[in-house]
């Protein structure tokens, strides 16, 4: 068969597939089905091509990743999640604390890391406020304070109009000094944070009536992934202050936190998957959050498809390698 015949055959197959999709699926699923067909059809074509030991160009890989990430954003694909033990441990800890307990949430990340960890920060904040815990928000990163303000005004507080600043929650903001900040707040909050972000003295804020240092809070959740971040919270506050610490980290940082689990870190939320599992657990336990925006769950679509594309390229790369090696031997 010549090249023209192949093109004609391809066009006929494409028309049949398009007709089948239009006939079999409802209109609202067409985008999803076509994009999946495009990705998987392309991968099958590359797989067949790899049998001839032909390397794939970098721009082709980039194109596949672009479609794999963009398609589930444009045409959402959602999955159900089963919280793993490391995520469930954090959920249970917050769930089992008596109402009115004090939880410290530290936003130790920047905009680069935010898409991965901000969804979990928002979900945990909502969980704490819904349970009636008092929440102290802070940040060890200069960029974290801006993200914290954004989270509070655009997401977290929207669902809790009755919560009062200084009584139910407080934002003490950012302080430079990295682990030095932790070294001080483990014995004295006021020395390092004389006021909150609105310049209200800490001694005038009701939450701090019974809280003199980080040792006095019931649970610390550090969300981040860089330095200073979750690891420093464990080393400088959790251990010396004997306070339970949970961490939410970017996926690439999660392996570094496992040495501390479960003795020094009670649970780990790793990347978008960790956020999605937490959001799922939260929606499952609280019907009030049924309509809550769940960016973690939404992002699992692009992540899943991107992972499948990467795995397929690993397989294709190995086929090309072994075919090439055999040809070279012959």
């Amino acid at each position: 068969m010549g090249k023209r015949h192949w093109i004609l055959l391809g066009a006929i197959v494409a028309v049949i597939i398009i007709a089948a999709v239009l006939w079999l699926f409802p209109k609202e699923r067409w985008g999803t089905v076509f994009s999946l067909l495009l990705v998987f059809g392309g991968l099958v074509a590359l797989l067949l091509r790899s049998l001839y030991a032909k390397e794939v160009e970098r721009r082709i890989i980039f194109l596949f990743i672009l479609v794999a990430v963009a398609a589930p954003i444009l045409f959402p694909i959602t999955f159900t999640e089963k919280p793993t033990a490391v995520v469930q441990a954090v959920f249970d800890k917050i769930e089992n604390l008596p109402s009115g307990s004090t939880v410290l949430l530290s936003f130790d990340f920047d905009p680069a890391m935010a898409p991965e960890v901000q969804p979990m920060a928002n979900a945990i904040s909502r969980h704490c406020l819904e349970k009636g815990h008092k929440v102290i928000f802070m940040s060890l990163w200069a960029t974290g304070q801006a993200l914290l303000s954004q989270s509070l005004s655009d997401y977290i507080l929207l669902g809790f109009p009755d919560k009062v600043d200084g009584v139910d929650y407080v934002n003490i903001g950012y302080k430079a000094g990295n682990e030095g900040v932790l070294n001080v707040i483990v014995s004295n909050f006021e020395k390092m944070f004389p006021t909150d972000v609105n310049s209200v003295p800490l001694k005038d804020i009701r939450i701090f009536d019974d809280i003199a240092s980080a040792k006095d809070v019931d649970f610390i959740m550090s969300i981040g992934g860089g330095m200073p971040g979750p690891k420093e919270w464990v080393l400088f506050v959790g251990d010396p202050g004997d306070v339970d610490v949970g961490v939410g980290v970017a996926a690439v940082v999660a392996p570094q936190m496992y040495p501390y689990y479960p003795a020094q870190v009670i649970g780990i939320l790793g990347g978008v998957k960790g956020a999605a599992e937490y959001e799922y657990a939260l929606k499952d336990a609280y019907p009030v959050f049924a309509d809550m925006d769940t960016p973690g769950l939404r992002m699992m679509g692009p992540q899943t498809l991107a992972h499948i594309v990467i795995l397929s390229f690993i397989v294709i790369g190995n086929i090309i390698y072994f075919r090439g090696r055999r040809e070279r031997k012959q």
Binding site: V56, R58, I61, F62, F64, I65, V69, F79, T80, E81, K82, T84, A85, D110, P111, A112, A114, P115, T143, Q145, A146, L147, L148, S149, Q150, S153, N171, G173, K175, A176, G177, G180, N183, V184, S187, N188, K191, V197, N198, S199, Q256, Y258, P259, G271, K273, M300, Q303, T304, A306, H307, I308, V309, I310, L311, I314, I316, G317, N318, Y321, F322
Partner: protein, 240 residues
């Protein structure tokens, strides 16, 4: 002579004092006080850092060095952020507030620079945030390309790495769960997400702990070298 001895003495004194303070309860507060001193010194470092940035980029501009155009962008961005942050410039509902210049609400001087309507926060939301997110998002493309080239079963070690990567990548998606949902609960360790957790919890843990212990010992020995004056490279000397 003093140029070298004074910094050596300061480091030896402070280092020894801070180590001793951990073991003597009445001296415990010293650690906190020194941290506050560190904060004060860090403020000067901010000035030095900012001053240095301005000096270098003005120099580059004056001499029309290669890529001097980027220096203009750097300087404009630097002074813009510095001005709106220091003056706490904000505009809410068309009402301008520059409390330090006596414009608008004078009470706004106590507000955080990251409150709604503040130019500092708006610039962060609409410039810094998307720029940094875009840079990080590009990683997905390079990770895919690198995985295709690097994860090849060329030998036993590479095959092990490849298998571990495969399980972790699958385990981080619901697809991994779906693939092995049929595995009975009594063999749940064979479900891909649980296998991914096992890899993180056992082989990864062993490696990470070894690295951590190594780093810890390295930090102790380097601290001792600094306190005892053996390590002097921070003074600009090449050898210890």
């Amino acid at each position: 002579m003093f140029k070298r001895r004074i910094p050596l003495f300061i480091l030896a004194f402070v280092g020894t004092l801070l180590i001793v303070s951990v073991f003597i309860p009445p001296m415990e507060n010293l650690g906190e006080d020194f941290t506050l001193f560190f904060d004060i010194i860090a403020v000067f470092a901010f000035f030095l850092g900012g001053g240095n940035l301005v000096r270098i980029h003005f120099g580059k501009l004056r001499r029309r060095k290669k890529d001097w155009g980027f220096s203009i962008v750097t300087l404009v961005a630097f002074f813009f952020m510095l001005t709106i942050g220091l003056l706490k410039v904000s505009s809410v509902g068309g009402v301008w507030n520059i409390p330090l210049l006596g414009i608008g609400d004078p009470a706004a001087i106590a507000a955080s620079p990251t409150t709604e309507g503040s130019w500092f926060q708006e610039t962060f939301n609409y410039v810094i945030n998307p720029l940094q997110s875009t840079m990080y998002a590009l990683l997905a493309f390079f990770v895919a390309s690198a995985s295709y080239r690097a994860f090849r079963a060329k030998n036993r070690e590479a095959t092990l790495l490849l298998l571990a990567a495969f399980i972790i990548l699958l385990g981080r998606t619901p697809f991994g769960m779906e693939l092995t949902r049929w595995v009975p609960e009594s063999f749940s360790v064979l479900q891909i997400p649980n296998m991914a957790i096992w890899i993180m919890n056992s082989p990864n843990l062993a490696g990470q702990r070894a690295i951590l212990i190594g780093i810890g010992l390295g930090v102790v020995s380097m601290s001792l070298r600094l306190i005892l004056g053996i390590e002097r490279s921070y003074l600009g000397e090449d050898r210890g």
